[in-house]
């Protein structure tokens, strides 16, 4: 249009002049024709254009055409002005067009499509991930060669199908844009060839037997790495190898060495434990094998029928832990008091009587000890005492003694050597490393997969010592604190890029197979060791050759092991050794030697639930994962009990100055009900100073305060408030109390048995004027969450984040209460604020049949599907947020900004291609993993069959270690779902609102010890719930009043 008009306008221009003064335009040739044309017309003749006036044949031809405007511009109509106009417009439009950034994308088909790879379909490969040197078997989901999700390997003993937060979040680490990209030397880019010739070759050609060579690696259980290390030692007899692990179970190994003469570790079987006594032990949350323990412990608390048996858990801990939340009898005590409690417990179950005096005759401690002892004695051989790995040696000896005396050894607990190389040895002692470095004999340092410059007691000053080594190299995923000190920095492969092996806690060998080529030239420790040995540095050859000679000679067996992820029958044998003579008495004496109330405050150093010892600090999913108890994200804070906080006059966020033995640091405080008084818990892993952009500057580094050689707690801490300094903490839950609302119901076992239908008023049909919509056609999706089983580990949160492309928003947005998690774990404290009960409730979209969100949406963006899903149509949403306002559960999440705008190229690869990435201004929320439902339905349809019960598994359900979450179709349910739907403790959260949720809960059942007879009624109910009366007929002895006492 416009071009033609432009030409016309120009013609009219000339025409105007022509009409005004005909004589003037004679020189352009047409003027004469117009003049003659005009001459033939009278004054009343009208002509609409000059063409008509001239009445040329071209005009007639154009008139005859149907669409004259579509005509191409006749070449002779180009004038200078129209040309310039068009030119200008084109340039302007071209400039405007360039404002749209069209990404350079290529879509190429396979030239030779591998038979197993069909674009759009998902494949799973077995692999395994090590945390602290111990393997957890995983199944990695691969979308056309790109790992997008990790799930537990059901065949693996440490997983049983579940995965923890680290395993779930390790996917993001693979795609972390901060990862070291290629070899660096002195800050400049280099190559592996250069590294090999300039660093490895001189080191490998040493003639001193390796005396000046120091190798620092992380803890390892890998048979391949151990074999390579052995070969290295053979070749360089004097080489120093150090294993760096700030979380090594030092006390447990020392206790076992004294008790049994060998570095044995207990292997627990919670299936058989009617009574579980946890002393500063996070057996279900952070210990090795925690996923298995959690599965077993929860299995003893199903309680679908009131008559079922139920375990009882006694816990004594200085800070509430994931395991402690499940406890029926919980005592809060300082970490330093744990050995005394154990001594008293030993005396109470008939052991060395000297321990009787370890706790005062009156008080909470005695009540807890007596109740635990009663239950333990009533459940000989079916009970278990577990102690935190990092308690001092005597605590472990006392626990071994109690378990031995109760006949638990060989039943609920057995002993086996640690699978970690040289566990408990001097090569694990950071002080020995410091001494070696200080000696000055080391001229070549090679650090791989460890960060000793950061994660070691501050007084050892390992960083300074390592910096003094003339020739240093570091193999690392990131340029972390240690890598910054080393001249050579080479990339460490992520386990999803690597070949390898590792052992689970019970010795079972798991294979590590890669899902993707190394993104940034990373190599494994085995490949690095092979380079030092001048061997073939190829991971696949190394592992295959090793296992050819170590039990998997044939290719069939190898393929089978790869496919299953584990090597069968590699579990280490357990034993039931007797305690060494006199060690029990020595342990009691050692326990009694610590003063009952050490002066000053106590500080307890802990691994962080999110970033562990610091190795996951650059993982944004984990940084934004709320702590299970404090709900703190993005940082650490000194945990205090409410009473201690009141004494110090601090509130959450106030900055404290902690001083211990001359070293001090400042960090914000957080008040945690249930924490021991006069004790401060601080967490490792924050305050990073490497080049990791996510981790840098988040939280406070507490390693500096940690005294060398000490267990991870110490007395004598001085705490003072730094006046005027306050740090706003990024917590996701501000309110502790449930305010008597029927959100997370709980009852004691006794109440449950007395009134099995206590949850009845909170479920079922409600009076309504309207006939409810009949959801009876096809599958009807529903979920039941067992609050008795939830331990708050938050693996579901990360699993959902990975599955559903949930964005990370950062600390500032969390402070503004804009976190995006589709599932969260609500934590309520009840009862006495000092000794509260804790109730946890996974909260996700309840998929209400009468959904309050649906009827308020003005544009039909959230609607109900016929199979009972509350659906969100992202591209119809205009973002009124009315749905969220009207959601009683507040599970809807809004894209306040374009949270996906800043994703790097590699992070995009972590996205699940089956799930839409949401744009700014739209609402999102849990979909019941609708992509999984539809995928399964399509597969069933293609195969011409009905969907099988249990065929659809949501991401949260899949990863839950305690199987607290069950999902399925009400019209085609699994047995589990059917049983839970029929359970008498099933209820709907906030039932009275009439929303008819498809997510139901099973009320939590606790099993507190009955109050002892009056004569011994010193026991105070530590949970702060109503203590049941002493002499009820049903009696709640552990395991369901079976009368085994």
């Amino acid at each position: 249009m416009s071009d033609v008009n432009g030409v016309r306008a120009s013609a009219d221009d000339r025409g105007d002049r022509g009409v005004g003064d005909v004589g003037d335009v004679g020189n352009d040739g047409d003027g004469g024709r117009w003049a003659s044309a005009l001459a033939h017309r009278g004054g009343t003749d009208f002509w609409r254009g000059l063409d008509e006036l001239l009445d040329t044949p071209e005009f007639r031809a154009r008139l005859a055409r149907e669409f004259p405007d579509r005509a191409t511009i006749p070449a002779e109509a180009w004038s200078r002005r129209s040309f310039l106009k068009l030119l200008g417009a084109s340039v302007a439009l071209a400039g405007a067009g360039a404002c749209i950034n069209v990404p350079d994308e290529r879509l190429l088909p396979y030239v030779d499509q591998p038979p197993e790879a069909t674009p759009g379909t998902v494949r799973y490969y077995a692999t395994s991930m090590t945390v602290g040197g111990l393997a957890t078997g995983l199944l990695a989901e691969s979308h056309v060669g790109r790992p997008t999700k990790l799930e537990g390997n059901p065949l693996h003993p440490a997983s049983l199908g579940a995965a923890g937060v680290y395993e779930q979040a390790s996917l993001l680490q693979l795609y972390d844009p901060d990862r070291l990209r290629g070899v660096r030397h002195g800050g400049r880019r280099a190559s592996w060839q250069q590294f090999a010739s300039e660093f490895i070759t001189p080191a490998a050609r040493r003639q001193d037997g390796g005396a000046g060579l120091l190798l620092v690696v992380g803890p390892t259980s890998s048979p391949l790495e151990m074999a390579l290390l052995a070969r290295l030692r053979q070749r360089f007899p004097a080489v120093h190898v150090h294993f760096h692990d700030p979380l090594a179970p030092v006390g447990a190994l020392e206790g076992a060495r004294r008790a049994f003469g060998a570095p044995l570790l207990p292997r627990h079987d919670l299936d058989g434990a009617d009574v579980l006594v946890l002393v500063e032990s996070d057996l279900l949350g952070s210990s090795p094998f925690h996923l298995r323990h959690a599965r077993q412990a929860a299995g003893r608390r199903r309680m679908l029928d009131p008559a079922d048996s139920m375990s009882r858990i006694h816990a004594a801990e200085s800070a509430p832990s994931v395991s402690g939340t499940l406890a029926d009898e919980r005592l809060r005590a300082r970490a330093g008091e744990m050995p005394r409690l154990l001594a008293a417990l030993l005396a109470a179950v008939g052991g060395a009587p000297a321990g009787r005096a370890a706790v005062p005759e009156d008080g909470r401690e005695r009540g807890w000890v007596d109740a635990a002892a009663r239950d333990l004695l009533a459940a000989r051989g079916r009970s278990l005492v577990a102690v935190g790995e990092r308690q001092p040696w005597h605590a472990h000896v006392l626990a071994h003694a109690i378990n031995a005396r109760l006949g638990n050894v060989g039943r609920t607990v057995a002993y086996a050597p640690s699978v970690i190389a040289e566990a408990g040895g001097r090569s694990h002692d950071p002080a020995a490393l410091a001494e070696l470095l200080r000696g000055g004999a080391v001229d070549t340092l090679l650090v791989a997969g460890a960060n000793p410059a950061y994660s070691a007691p501050g007084e050892l000053e390992l960083g300074r010592l390592m910096a003094a080594v003339p020739n240093a190299a570091c193999m690392s995923m990131y340029v972390d604190e240690t890598a910054r000190l080393c001249g050579w920095v080479v990339p460490h492969a992520h386990y999803l890029e690597a070949w390898g092996d590792a052992r689970a806690y019970d010795g079972t060998v798991s294979l590590v197979q890669p899902l993707i080529q190394p993104l940034w030239e990373g190599r494994t420790l085995a490949e690095l060791l092979a380079m030092l040995l001048d061997e073939q540095p190829d991971g696949r050859t190394l592992i295959r050759e090793h296992w050819r000679g170590a039990g998997l000679p044939g290719d069939d067996a190898w393929e089978r092991a790869l496919q299953r992820g584990i090597v069968d029958s590699t579990e280490t044998a357990t034993s039931a050794p007797a305690l060494a003579a006199g060690v029990e008495e020595a342990a009691v004496a050692a326990a009694m030697a610590t003063p009952a109330r050490a002066s000053g405050m106590e500080v307890v150093f802990r691994q962080d639930a999110s970033v562990r010892a610091g190795e996951f600090a650059n993982n944004a999913w984990l940084q934004e994962l709320p702590d299970p108890l404090t709900k703190l994200t993005w940082g650490n804070a000194a945990q205090l009990s409410p009473a201690t906080a009141a004494r110090l006059g601090v509130e959450a966020g106030d900055v404290l100055r902690l001083s211990l033995a001359g070293r001090e640091l400042e960090m914000p405080a957080i008040v945690l009900p249930g924490h021991a008084d006069e004790s401060v818990s601080v967490h490792f892993g924050y305050g990073r100073e490497g080049e990791e952009r996510v981790a840098r500057g988040v939280g406070v580094d507490v390693y500096g305060l940690w005294p060398a050689g000490a267990p991870p707690f110490a007395a004598g801490l001085a705490v003072e408030r730094v006046a005027g300094k306050h740090v706003p903490l990024a917590t996701t839950q501000e309110h502790w109390s449930m305010e008597q609302r029927p959100a997370a119901l709980a009852a004691t076992l006794e109440e449950y048995r007395a009134n099995p239908d206590f949850a009845r008023p909170q479920r079922g049909r409600q009076l309504s004027l309207y006939e409810p919509y009949a959801y009876d056609q096809g599958d009807q999706w529903a979920m039941v969450v067992d609050l008795s089983a939830c331990i708050g580990c938050s693996a579901c949160v990360v699993a959902c984040q990975a599955e559903n492309n949930v964005p990370v928003v950062g600390a500032e947005q969390v402070r503004r209460s804009r976190e995006m998690h589709w599932i969260r774990v609500d934590r309520y404290f009840g009862g006495d604020p000092e000794d509260p009960s804790v109730t946890l409730q996974p909260m996700l979209c309840q998929h209400c049949e009468n959904a309050p969100c649906e009827y308020v949406c003005p544009v039909n963006a959230t609607v109900h599907s016929p199979d009972g899903l509350n659906e969100m149509t992202y591209n119809r949403c205009v973002g009124t947020r009315f749905c969220s306002n009207n959601c009683p559960y507040k599970v809807r999440r809004f894209n306040w900004f374009d949270y996906n705008a800043e994703l790097g190229e590699t992070e995009r690869l972590a996205r699940n291609p089956d799930v839409t990435v949401r744009e700014r201004g739209v609402m999102e929320k849990c979909t019941f993993c609708v992509q999984r439902i539809r995928r399964a339905q399509q597969a069933a349809q293609v195969e011409g069959r009905k969907l099988a019960p249990g065929e659809v598994v949501t991401a949260c359900q899949q990863t839950c270690p305690t199987q607290a979450i069950t999902f399925g179709s009400l019209t085609n349910p699994t047995d589990d779902l059917l049983q839970r739907m029929a359970a008498r403790r099933r209820y709907a959260a906030l039932h009275e609102l009439g929303t008819r949720p498809r997510v139901n809960y099973l009320a939590r059942i606790d099993n507190p010890a009955p109050t002892p007879p009056v004569a011994d009624a010193r026991g105070v109910d530590a949970r702060g719930v109503d203590a049941p009366s002493a002499d009820t007929a049903t009696g709640t002895t552990p395991a369901g009043g079976g009368g085994q006492a």
Binding site: M843, F882, N885, G921
Partner: protein
Amino acid sequence: MSTALPPVIHLPLREPEFSDHVISPPFVESRRWWVLLVISGMGAAVFIGLFFYSVTLGPGVWGTNIPVGWAFPIVNFVWWIGIGHAGTFISAFLILLNQHWRGSINRLAEAMTLFALVNAGLFPVLHLGRQWFFYWLVPYPAVTGVWPQFKSTLPWDVAAISTYFLVSLLFWYLGLVPDLATARDRSPGLWRRRVYGIFALGWRGTARQWRQHRSAYLVLAGLATPLVISVHSIVSLDFAIALLPGWHSTIFPPYFVVGAIYSGLAMVLVLMIPVRKWLRLEQVITDRHLDGLAKLMLVTGVMLFYSYAIEQFIAWYSASPIESYQYLVARTRGPYAPFFWAMAAGNLLTPNLFWSSRLRRNQPVLFVASLVVLASMWGERFIIVVASLNRGALPSSWAIYIPTWVDWGILLGSFGLFLFLFLLFLRFVPTVALSEVRALAHEVEEGRRRAMAGGVAARPDGQADSLGRIA
């Protein structure tokens, strides 16, 4: 009432001096007008700038969060639309009730309504996450075949506000036509006459035109009157249909309407008192008008008190822990408790000043009291919207809302936009309904004359209502 009311108009009304004065008030040439225009213009620029800032970056620039999904934009929306109600109330409601004194102030009040609605209409668009799709709330025949969801109140909101704006605009304009004709005839300068002439639609003041004008005006008044009730009722349903404790309440429609008129009357007073002085309109806007508006504020204030009391009572009476917590604990002792008490005191105590006829006619008292009421009514909407969301049904999701500088900037900017439009109105549109005031003056004189002639006692308020209507 024993006290004699002031006259509704001071006679004699000299024409054409009075019309000339209204059409070209000296004030609009003054330095004060220019200063105010520049200041309010800057405010309007801030508003427009922050509007586009928010659209560009996203609603994250405000303090809103989960659970507080609505905050300043919705508070401002409800407040502005409430302000608007007084104009329609004065012009439409009172004409039907034969309250002739309204003739002097209806033009001002209606203009205020329009400009308040301009603001009120922008906020619902602004508060969206994807503002460019706001038209999806309008029932248009889209090729997608998707209609708005009529169970939600928001599409009704759009319909109510747009209807209200159109009817208010027509009503205002229809009332203006004879005055525009006067302006056309009396304005200095050819251009002004031409422009006024276009807008006067060829008004000649013939009897036939007057007849049609009057009936059309009454019909529109009849249309506008239910809108006063319906618009804010629908706005209140944005909250009342929700499950949220604090919103889920059947008293909301009348409660919101009363509150709207209450705040609107306060805004009329805040504008009228300086306008009357600066434009020297004391002859037609008398103490009688102040008195009448103050009385209306007293009445609506008492009704508001009743609403507050019933809200609290029902919360207690419901025996619902969630409901009673919201009203009896969260509001009175929660994080926004200082605002709750301040707004309750401001709204409930202030109108009690107007039991006194002396205070009803005291301009400084009226002005300050009206400002207090305006602030308190904004606070009331803030408490309803934010404090309810802040303490929802599930305690785990409770979180504080803190406004950002953008929130404050948009609020202050909307005042600027409002004032800017109002100042332009003062300059270019006759601020007093000239034809009505002339008729009023005529009737008052007639009434007096007849009273003297026939011995009938003239009503002291000067309200000659032997005729059923004016003009």
